[in-house]
Amino acid sequence: MMVAAGTGRGPRLERPDERGRFGDYGGMFAPETLMPALEQLAAGFAEAWVDPGFTSEFHHLLATYTGRPTPLQSADHLSREIGVRVLLKREDLAHTGAHKINNALGQALLTTRMGKSRLIAETGAGQHGVATATAAAYAGLECLVYMGEKDIERQALNVQRMRMLGTDVVPVTSGAGTLKDAVNEAMRDWVRTVETTHYIIGSVVGPHPFPWIVREFQKVIGEESLGQLEGEMPDVVVACVGGGSNAIGMFYPFAGREGVELVGVEAAGHGIETGRHGASIGAGSPGILHGARTYMLQDDEGQVLEAHSISAGLDYPGVGPEHAYYADTGLARYVSITDEEALGGVDLLSRTEGIIPALESAHAIAWVAREADALRDRMVLINLSGRGDKDVEMIASKIGMR
């Protein structure tokens, strides 16, 4: 189904093609051992997603367990401060403190339906790890989360939460000890355990069918927003992009609509020109990372480069293949915000609205603040993907409040 008629963009793709691709991106570059499980997962999800029993259980849990719908807040104080009318989709108020729970719960239900008993996941900022640990505890599944040792250090609160929920957190020391390396390690676990274990990948990345499944579980963000807008249409919809699950969940229901601009905010880290950033679309090139063809950070011989971001969730050298497709077709545009600017975004939202955002989400806030002159008189919808409790120590150390 296509929505983009007449805009000269797109089209938005309801699902990837039979090869698991969004245009030129996506696919299944996975070891043979995993291929039968990926086939089974694609078929199992397709079947579940049209089964009213499954979808009603999912939506019932979203309502009664995670607290959906999350509010759509008119951020009047922020709006006054920067001179742009801003609406916030409050995913920070979902159970566990971020949008990640939507996907974790959906995939945990799928795991039970497929008759598997063990979950694994990777996590960067720890939000997906906490969400998966939570879903595992709720569904009565065994759970193990891989987390880079550098991220374990900078997200100690979330590590503790996962352990309290009964999940094993395994430090990953390979590479730079961040999200990319945690994904590698989770994949390696899965190659060994695939017959009994489901891998809940935390973003719209990985081999098909993961980018499609995760987007389907996350599109509730944008669908709810459309209903809460009561017919009004935002001029600009903004979300931060690491792997890109909160962004695609917000963008997808808006994609291709006349007069709505979608803006994904990547991590510029120390600055794009320094090479120390996480801007896979803005400064990367097409390649194959974690099973999918997409934009990524790599050298001329295809060695993967380390990303950098102050926010662990955006510290990733790739991006979901559907975003790569949106970038090429003009369905969305992608910009970037530095570590410094993101810290400014945390400060701005904390002071004006009394909301401490996650460092990831602060990238979206900071971009709107920076571009306020260009956005004046326009209505901007920001996906506030998570809350900042996990980042408090890190931020305090950065801005010398200790």
Partner: protein, 263 residues
């Protein structure tokens, strides 16, 4: 060299009723200066063919041993061109058919045709790409055919019979049977998994079958030998390249023991 050198090897071992030994070593190990000499020592110790690992930054089909080896090789300056140069010198010195082993991203970054051409120019007989399943192999199959080298396709314990038939139908130079669930690395056990997979593959196709992953001892190799055309050992040799004070004699001795268990 070309694909025919591997086709010939498997025809020979079948006629002679033995099993070929194909050791793996990461290009640049034990050190950049010793790597070609190590392959020569393995040839003298009974290796029939080689897998030359071109180190990749994110080897997600590899366990800790080959991960560390890849990282060390890259840090010491090993490149794609360097890897092909090692392969060229190994083929010139030993005359053994040799395969380049890589991952999908480097292959597609350079371009499958260019990658296959460079491998063929270096004297490679074939190409192994660890994360390239049937569904994505099309461009690489075309490229390797065009360059006159073989492509290896994988079959795992999880691969069902209908899929095995589709894999065989793509005419791989051999099928790499994954002998254990999981990534590369040494394992203690001798399980029934590889033998059962070998029997299923044999029932579907006459394509040469080589097994690797989790095979590291002469006992494990000997147990599987009657069911396969060749055995690959990687981590058990790479480990010696990483930790030994005098790696070449140790790798040579291990190769001799492994190759000896197969004849």
């Amino acid at each position: 060299m070309s694909r025919e050198s591997l086709d010939r090897l498997f025809a020979d071992v079948r006629r002679e009723g033995r099993t070929a030994f194909l050791p793996f070593m990461t290009a640049g190990l034990p050190s950049p200066g010793e790597t070609v000499e190590t392959f020569i020592a393995m040839a003298e110790a009974g290796a029939d063919a080689f897998e030359v690992g071109i180190p990749y930054s994110d080897p997600l089909m590899d366990g800790p041993t080959i991960q560390v080896a890849s990282q060390r090789a890259i840090e010491q300056g090993m490149t794609l061109g360097g890897g092909f140069d090692v392969l060229r010198r190994v083929v010139e010195a030993t005359g053994r058919p040799s395969l380049a082993m890589s991952y999908a991203n480097p292959v597609f970054r350079v371009g499958p045709r260019e990658f296959a051409r460079r491998a063929a120019d270096a004297g490679a007989a074939g190409l192994i790409v660890a994360d390239l399943p049937l569904e994505e192999a099309g461009p690489v199959i075309g490229a390797t055919e065009g360059a006159g080298i073989g492509l290896v396709l994988f079959a795992a314990p999880t691969t069902h019979d209908e899929r095995l038939a589709r894999i065989a139908a793509r005419d791989p130079v051999f099928i790499y049977g994954v002998a254990a669930m999981g990534v590369t690395g040494e394992r203690e056990d001798v399980s029934d998994v590889p033998r059962r997979l070998a029997e299923r593959i044999r029932a579907v196709t006459g394509t040469p079958l080589v097994m690797g992953v989790g095979i590291g001892t002469p006992e494990q190799a000997a147990a599987l030998a009657p069911n396969v055309d060749g055995i690959i050992v990687g981590s058990a040799l790479v480990r010696r390249a990483l930790v030994s004070d005098d790696p070449i004699p140790e790798i040579s001795a291990a190769t001799r023991a492994l190759a000896g268990a197969l004849s």
